[in-house]
Symmetry: C2
Subunit: 771 residues, 2 copies
């Protein structure tokens, strides 16, 4: 844990410069706009510890797999989110002195992420050993209205000296990933040059052949006057610079503006990248920095209007949730159906790939509720389009008959993770993909999706489960052996309760869906049967049999489900018995010790109860929560959100609140000592869930919304809005009542606690309720 | 499986040159002399597929660990047996034509390993595309009497042409390991030069700093006359050559002799390596090739006299066992206590490290029976000297109080394997180390070893087990969770029967040993208590409690021990259900499929029964054998030997014989399609065991030898000799009787079947017996 940030409900602020905090801040203050993003690296040279990171959505590199011992079935490559040519660089020299905060005295430092506007601010005074000092103020944003555009305003004032000053505003193509498996460079430089006032570089990723152009335009003004000096321009392989040299007087303010356009062959013909980038710069120059910023802020204003959550009475909670929403909004905007939501977004290199089960299990509801239903539908279609590859993947592992195993980590549908216990065994991911279809339809009512796409995916998933089980003659039931559940602190276990549950549920849901499509779209049904070579009698008989006779481990005496068979053979250690200095245990304990312990990385039984809440009575939920919560370390970022929701359901306000802080401030307060590597983007959607479904108590049951709020003691009110079947509904929960207002005229049936109300048109519905 | 070799009882022969067999032959025909060894690479250039390999015992490189995902507790490096500067090279040119069997027509090819003499022969006629051809005959050996010396005689006759011929006899320092994790070179060249008639190179391994000198002396004779031409000599970084140019007449025979001396800083001061190598060459030159060969053959004659096994009536079995004994004798000679027995010996790069549990579990009896007891004792001391590192290793994994976990793979006592399921979980290796102490003392009667060294190791091992178990409140017994047993086709299982057995046995044996030392060497006992901070009351109480209350999985109905908990939940597939084209399954099935299947890589329950045979009645052994044998794939080279021994015990001659062929001809017939990577040296000791303990039925029970032979149908007789407590006993088993002769005058009590006899002095004892 590391707490050094301050700020207010809209701003995250760092008030003192400490190099040991810098890698964390680089992650936390990252910017993105769906198309591109970057860590909060300094524009000027910084010679201290730093992770330079600049990323382009969808641009990846198939890094040659590195494993200790090859296992049959491992994928050939691991998809890396590529560290891309960098455009923020500005080197500043005063005579021989270079501006480098690592080697200078820094005072009045302030770094601020203005989440309302999506702008990164920085200001500081820095002194060289010779006593001369400068004052710097910067602003940076990645335009939301022009996604290929980034802008920097860099103001510098010599505080106590006059003399020679030079600035080099540059583009750098020679970048590499810190996490490359073999220190390989992923880029090949293509060209460089100038075009009018602009300089540019082009590069191509090796193997994948993505081409990228980075172009810049720069301007300088002194004391607000327009620039008089044109820069010296240099352009060579992998490098382009605009150099300004001038003589300054103490107290004068020099302002550089740097606009950068980043175009890629994902969006344009490769031979037009330079032209497109220059056109973009032309238009941006005409608009000017200030108006570009206004456009950008307007986008954010609109975005916040629909996605904001307001918490009165608790600054820390308020700041935390906005931080999460801010990152979600800047990571994935839904504008490009080829993209997905990487677990680190644009904030770091770790993990690689862009698509994990996180999308289906945690992220989908955020997009369902804050954006047009097409965005969530695109996320489902992303998997539909990769179904063939999931079938191929299953064939590699020995499955037949069109069974599919979706990848654990992917860019293109091909698996690119390579630890056997995850790649081959963390198969519950397949369940999340089925669940997402169900969840999408539950929320949107769009059953047509099932007909057009969903059923095909479900059939392939059920075929997988039907083959993956085996009949245990000793148990006289079906079992699922050798899996890793969501709790990755157990590997290769038998009968993971969660996996068995979601497998059986998938089989049943597929059976239901088959019936639905047969009845409602018989022609399409026949088409699907033909296309998938489906044998209705034989296959559904097997599925029913498996669904009805699968083993679920439980302990009758304790009245709990068992995470896996044999869980109670472990020495039962609780998480609060682990000394602070040994946390997170994955940084301190050897792997075997972790595996043997009863400690849990993330919700597993509780995850299953959360997904299928209606199957369980409140006593069962309580018993399982009381058993598993004390054993859970929450060392997965995906863990606490689910616990918040269940704690809230159990009316455990204090517990829910503590866990909420953990999820919403996981990165801000660096609970797991790893934020320097990047933020936990996908778990931020879990945080959102923990507010809406936890404290808001929102559910969709039988096509109707229901609420059962619970406010933490310090919260005076909670406000949010959701998109439900095309209607935007605003919810205000205070300690005494819940107020709902719909954006359109439709009548909406709403359940609050156990009472049914009708929300009609745009008239607020107020219901007294002790939250 | 690949069968292409012929030969007779003393020779392995390859009669046709096929490039696709070459990598296998390079492994099979490898030479070694304990100090150094090499694959049967051709002297002349060979541009086809080949694994060049030349190795020096004890010279290793700490290759930077390569893993997909780092786990806490992983070692920093993986010790590689280093591919060392190569001295066999001879390039031959006829005009522009280079001798290269991959690019020529080859006829009358013969490669022969003369196991009786330890000499590699080769002869062939090779024709270039222009129709000219040469006849070549070579001999090579690594001297057993002068371990730093290798010798080659290379004879060449132009068959159908006269003209210019040149030969370059060279040393090559620029070698690399094919299996280097990062394509790194392990050697740094140091020097090169000539000294008198000799040329030399010196090199140093990076990081470990082993220095090596390779020096050569060469001679040429034409038609048996002494050489008249002195070679041109070249020496540069990493390369030295002696070049001979001459004009030859068709039918003339040119003979080159190349002697090489290889000295290392493991044996000499680094600054004397060149001098030592040249002195060696001086002495060798004086002796001459023919007499060097005689010395070498004499060594082998003596060696065979004590280690040979003769099987009358079965050429394939006879050749197989000699092949195994030959490799064992040339891999580890016991002359250097710092060495151990690498699983590939000098035949390949795979695995790395030199010390596995193979040494204790499989190899020790071979050395106990065929060499002076000091050799086996040295093998035990090797671990004793590494005890501190084993304790450090355990500390890394969270153990305390002097508990030791010996490494899975090591050179120096440090762990260098990096798969969590092996490194951290294949802890049964600790048991083998205790068992070896017991086995050594059982065979030699040297209980003093326990007093001086053994007890300290046993205490550290028992401390490990006492911490590694945990008490299961649901079972009310101790359990051992999260282990990998000898059957590596299961990972991270609970209560592996073998592991639990050897753990409990170790605790009991340590308790016994403590009592023995306390009674017989009270002063040493006190010293050990002090040194190990041993708390006799508390610790032994815990050990007794664990030993008495540990859970053993079994199935009462089937009357078998269960390999691990839950084994019967698997779909019960037998090994003969796996189609031939899917074998070995580790080359065809994905890892998860292997893990989930009931198929077994190697003996696990049966391994335990073999070690502790006297604990089990014959019916129990039969039931377990009948259950597990059909499920065992024998895809570990260490597997079949144990099955042979148990099958013989159960008087299943045919089964025992089939399994014996599998173990004794595992490499010769390449059962597992992997011999190109190297031979399975350590399992060769298992093969030896399978004859002695299997067909010979030999045991040591209560300080006495016992025999209970069983001859396969085709065997007329079986002869071998063993070293038992300083006495060499020769055994001849025919179909009607067993005859024993002791080498010295002591009276020896011998049990044959269930009768007791006395073997007195050097008089043969003949007992009628239907084997």
């Amino acid at each position: 844990m590391k707490r050094y940030l301050s700020g207010d409900e809209w701003n995250i602020e760092e008030r003192e410069f400490k190099p040991e905090h810098h890698p964390n801040s680089e992650s936390l203050f990252s910017l993105g706009n769906g198309h591109m993003g970057q860590r909060a690296n300094f524009e000027e040279t910084y010679s201290g510890p730093s992770l330079q990171g600049n990323y382009l959505a969808g641009v990846y590199y198939p890094d040659k797999t590195r494993v200790g011992w090859w296992k049959n079935g491992y994928p050939e490559y691991f998809a890396r989110v590529v560290n891309a040519p960098q455009w923020i660089g500005i080197r500043i020299f005063s005579g021989e002195n270079e501006l480098d905060l690592y080697r200078m005295d820094v005072s009045e430092f302030m770094r601020k992420l203005d989440m309302k506007s999506g702008i990164l601010h920085r200001s500081f005074t820095a002194s060289w050993p010779d006593g001369t000092s400068v004052r710097v103020e910067t602003q940076r944003f990645l335009s939301m209205s022009r996604r290929e555009l980034g802008a920097i305003r860099y103001r510098l004032t010599p505080v106590n000296f006059s003399g020679e000053l030079s600035a080099s505003l540059y583009l750098e193509g020679d970048v590499r990933n810190q996490n490359a498996n073999y220190r390989e460079k992923f880029w090949k430089p293509l060209g460089h040059g100038t075009s009018g006032r602009y300089s540019w570089l082009t590069s191509r990723t090796k193997k994948t052949g993505f081409e990228v152009c980075v172009a810049m335009s720069t301007r300088m003004r002194i004391n607000g006057r327009s620039d008089t000096i044109a820069p010296d321009r240099e352009s060579k392989v992998n490098f382009a610079a605009h150099r300004y040299r001038l003589t300054v007087q103490a107290g004068e303010t020099i302002e550089w503006t740097k606009l950068a356009a980043v175009t890629t062959s994902r969006d344009h013909p490769a031979d037009q990248l330079v032209q497109q980038a220059c056109n973009l710069l032309d238009r941006a120059e005409k608009t000017g920095f200030d108006d570009l910023k206004k456009e950008h802020i307007n986008w954010w204003n609109r975005k916040w209007d629909i996605s904001d959550i307001r918490i009165e009475g608790d600054l820390s909670a308020q700041q935390g949730i906005r931080f999460n929403i801010f990152h979600l909004n800047q990571t994935y905007t839904g504008h490009d159906p080829r993209l997905n939501i990487g677990p680190k977004g644009f904030t770091g290199e770790k993990y690689g790939g862009s698509t994990y089960w996180d999308t289906e299990a945690y992220c989908l509801p955020y997009y369902l509720n804050t954006m047009d239903a097409r965005v969530a539908r695109n996320l489902l279609l992303y998997r539909y389009h990769q179904l063939d590859k999931a079938i191929e993947n299953a064939v590699k592992l020995g499955f037949t008959n069109g069974a599919a195993l979706f990848p654990m980590v992917t860019m293109t549908g091909e698996e690119c993770h390579n630890e056997w216990e995850i790649t081959f065994e963390e198969i519950h991911r397949n369940g999340a993909i089925a669940y997402a279809i169900f969840n999408y339809i539950r929320h949107t009512g769009d059953r047509q999706y099932l007909v057009e796409y969903g059923l095909e995916v479900l059939i392939a998933l059920s075929r997988f489960w039907a083959q993956r089980v085996n009949f245990s003659s000793s148990k006289q039931q079906f079992v699922i052996l050798g899996v890793t559940g969501p709790n990755e602190y157990e590997n290769n276990v038998n009968n993971n309760w969660y996996t068995n549950l979601i497998a059986v549920w998938t089989l049943n849901y597929t059976l239901e869906s088959l019936e639905y499509v047969q009845k409602n779209a018989p022609r399409r049904y026949e088409e699907i049967l033909k296309r998938t070579h489906f044998d209705p009698q034989r296959e559904t008989a097997r599925w029913k049999s498996v669904a009805d006779h699968t083993y679920f481990p439980e302990d009758k005496e304790l009245g709990i489900f068992l995470q896996q068979e044999g869980y109670l053979d472990k020495e039962q250690i609780l998480s609060d018995e682990v000394p602070e200095q040994e946390r997170p245990v994955n940084q301190h304990w050897s792997w075997d010790r972790i595996l043997r312990s009863s400690l849990i990385k993330q919700a597993d039984v509780l995850q299953g109860i959360y997904f299928f809440e209606s199957y369980f009575d409140l006593d069962t939920i309580r018993r399982n929560f009381d058993f598993y919560e004390p054993r859970t370390l929450h060392e997965s970022s995906l863990s606490p959100c689910v616990h918040v929701i269940l704690a809230a359901k159990l009316r455990r306000a204090e517990k829910a609140y503590q866990l909420y802080l953990r999820t919403s401030r996981l990165d801000l307060d660096d609970y797991n000592n790893e934020v320097g590597e990047g933020c936990h983007i996908t778990s931020m959607a879990g945080t959102w869930l923990s507010v809406i479904e936890g404290f808001g108590g929102m559910r969709v049951v039988n096509h109707h919304l229901s609420f059962n709020p619970l406010l933490p003691e310090s919260w005076q009110s909670l406000r949010f809005s959701i998109n439900f079947r095309g209607n935007r509904i605003r919810i205000i929960i205070t300690r005494k009542q819940i107020e709902l207002t719909a954006a359109n005229d439709e009548e909406v049936t709403i359940q609050i606690a156990n009472q049914t109300f009708t929300l009609s048109g745009r008239k607020p519905l107020q219901v007294s309720f002790k939250a």
